[in-house]
């Protein structure tokens, strides 16, 4: 009986070694020489294959870079330094790019999320969103189950008091968190200045309802619009929106933020 085990082991090992040898030989013989530029660029790319650039892998992205079909700025993950080196290899001049960061457009902490029902289902935002947002009265705000923090490949987000908090040092701007949020609470924005001011609310409910269900929501009172005067803010669908391209003077913005009755204008 022992014989069959030995012969099975030996013959399978033999076959495996034989095929491995054939493949190793073929690999040597049929090796395709990569364009040295492609491998140089691939080495500079982060190599995490996150796919945020829209290509299959870092290698695929490098091939398109070598063919000058895309801009290295598409890769949000790599460092400034590496980007410059890639521009050198491509022989092109660098364009102005800003790092991108996620803005969490909700400010309701645990105690401020008014419940409408008890949700005892699977504790993910995606699951909660399927059953009317996990029992929260506000249908626009952060449900607080942290899908964004879970999906972040760099550990840059963590949940704190029912809201995602950003560790800007770790964030690469890959936008995976924005894609994971079922309510689109997270927006990606170019970080043009040291500080960006944004309205930390996504609710399009009218003033009365927002007032009733959330103490941290934007009630679209229009104070920020009046104070800024030159279009720094505008009201759309019962919600104030910041125009990020016009944010130059941090002091003005700070004073406007201080006047906001619900203190919903936050800085990064």
């Amino acid at each position: 009986m022992g014989n069959i085990y030995v012969s099975a082991l030996l013959s399978m090992t033999g076959l495996a070694v034989f095929f491995a040898a054939v493949l190793a030989f073929a690999d040597k013989k049929l090796k395709v020489e990569d364009d040295p530029k492609v491998s140089a660029i691939t080495d500079l790319l982060p190599g995490v294959n996150c796919g945020a650039c829209g290509f299959l892998s870092c290698h695929d992205f490098a091939e398109h870079l070598t063919a000058r079909e895309v801009d290295p700025g598409k890769c949000r993950v790599m460092t400034e330094d590496h980007r410059k080196k890639i521009y050198d290899i491509m022989g092109e001049k660098e364009k102005d790019t800003y790092p991108r960061i996620p803005l969490v457009r909700c400010a309701a902490e645990c105690s401020q999320k008014e419940p409408e029902a008890d949700y005892t289902g699977i504790a993910t935002c995606a699951a909660a969103e399927l059953v009317f947002g996990g029992g929260m009265k506000c249908t626009y705000g952060c449900t607080g189950y942290g899908d964004c923090a879970a999906v972040c490949p760099f550990g840059a987000l963590h949940m704190e008091n029912g809201l995602p908090r950003l560790d800007a040092e770790k964030c690469t701007g890959c936008a995976k968190c924005a894609g994971a949020c079922p309510r689109n609470v997270i927006n990606m924005q170019d970080k043009r200045n040291e500080k960006i001011f944004y309205v930390a609310c996504s609710s399009q409910d009218d003033m009365i309802r927002t007032r009733k269900i959330c103490s941290a929501g934007c009630i679209a009172c229009g104070v920020c619009v009046k104070l800024s005067g030159d279009g720094l803010f505008k009201i759309e669908n019962n919600l104030a929106q910041a125009d990020y391209s016009k944010q130059r003077n941090a002091d003005t913005l700070l004073s406007i933020a201080a006047k906001c009755p619900t203190k919903v204008i936050k800085e990064t």
Binding site: S7, A8, S11, G14, L15, A16, F19, A26, K31, V32
Partner: protein, 195 residues
């Protein structure tokens, strides 16, 4: 006499017992790669190559290793090892000789490994107790049949681009319906060859 038999095996594998349209094996690449004629022909030829090689190599391994050492129970594992190595080899070969085809086939090239039509082929071959030559012809026929089905489908799907398809059926839906119709058409060959 023997030639007659070989021709019969070839035609049976390619048409009357077509792997895709009669046995419904290998539907994944059939749906996945049949949207463009060029890649359909490419994958068809690659699969034919792998099938023919797989049939011959597995026959040798089966007869001279598995049967000899009384290890027939290992046939599934062994066949999969053989097929996987062959596919790896073909992948390297195509990458070297035709980068365009390599790009067009994309993920479906390594997926030939898990194409059940190929494992099916090797198992049928054992089941029907074919000789070496018969196995090779069987593999070639199956490959030709696979290519034929893929190319037919690609031709139809290219025309389909211009057709007015109900919204709900667009894409995979209409493709599966078409596959069913093609299979019905191929049933017509059923009575030609017995066995």
């Amino acid at each position: 006499m023997i030639i007659e038999e070989l021709i019969l095996i070839l035609i049976a594998a390619a048409i009357t017992n077509n792997f895709i349209l009669t046995y419904f094996l290998g539907i994944c690449p059939f749906i996945g790669v049949s949207n463009k004629m060029e890649s359909a022909v490419g994958l068809g030829l690659a699969t034919t190559f792998v099938m023919t090689l797989a049939a011959s190599v597995t026959w040798l391994v089966y007869q001279y290793v598995l049967v000899k050492f009384n290890l027939v129970f290992l046939q599934y594992v062994t066949f999969i090892i053989v097929i996987a190595s062959l596919v790896q080899f073909v992948e390297m070969f195509i990458r070297k000789t035709s980068p365009q085809l390599y790009k067009a086939l994309g993920i479906f090239l390594p997926l030939i490994t898990t194409n059940c039509a190929i494992l099916g082929l090797t198992l049928f071959m054992v089941l029907r107790k074919y000789s070496f030559l018969e196995s090779v012809i069987f593999g070639l026929g199956a490959g030709i049949g696979f290519t034929l089905a893929l190319v037919l489908m690609a031709g139809i799907r290219e025309e389909l681009e211009f057709a007015d398809i109900p919204e709900a059926l667009k894409g995979t839906g209409i493709t599966l319906i078409l596959a069913g119709m093609l299979a019905l058409a191929f049933m017509g060959f059923g009575g030609i060859i017995s066995g």
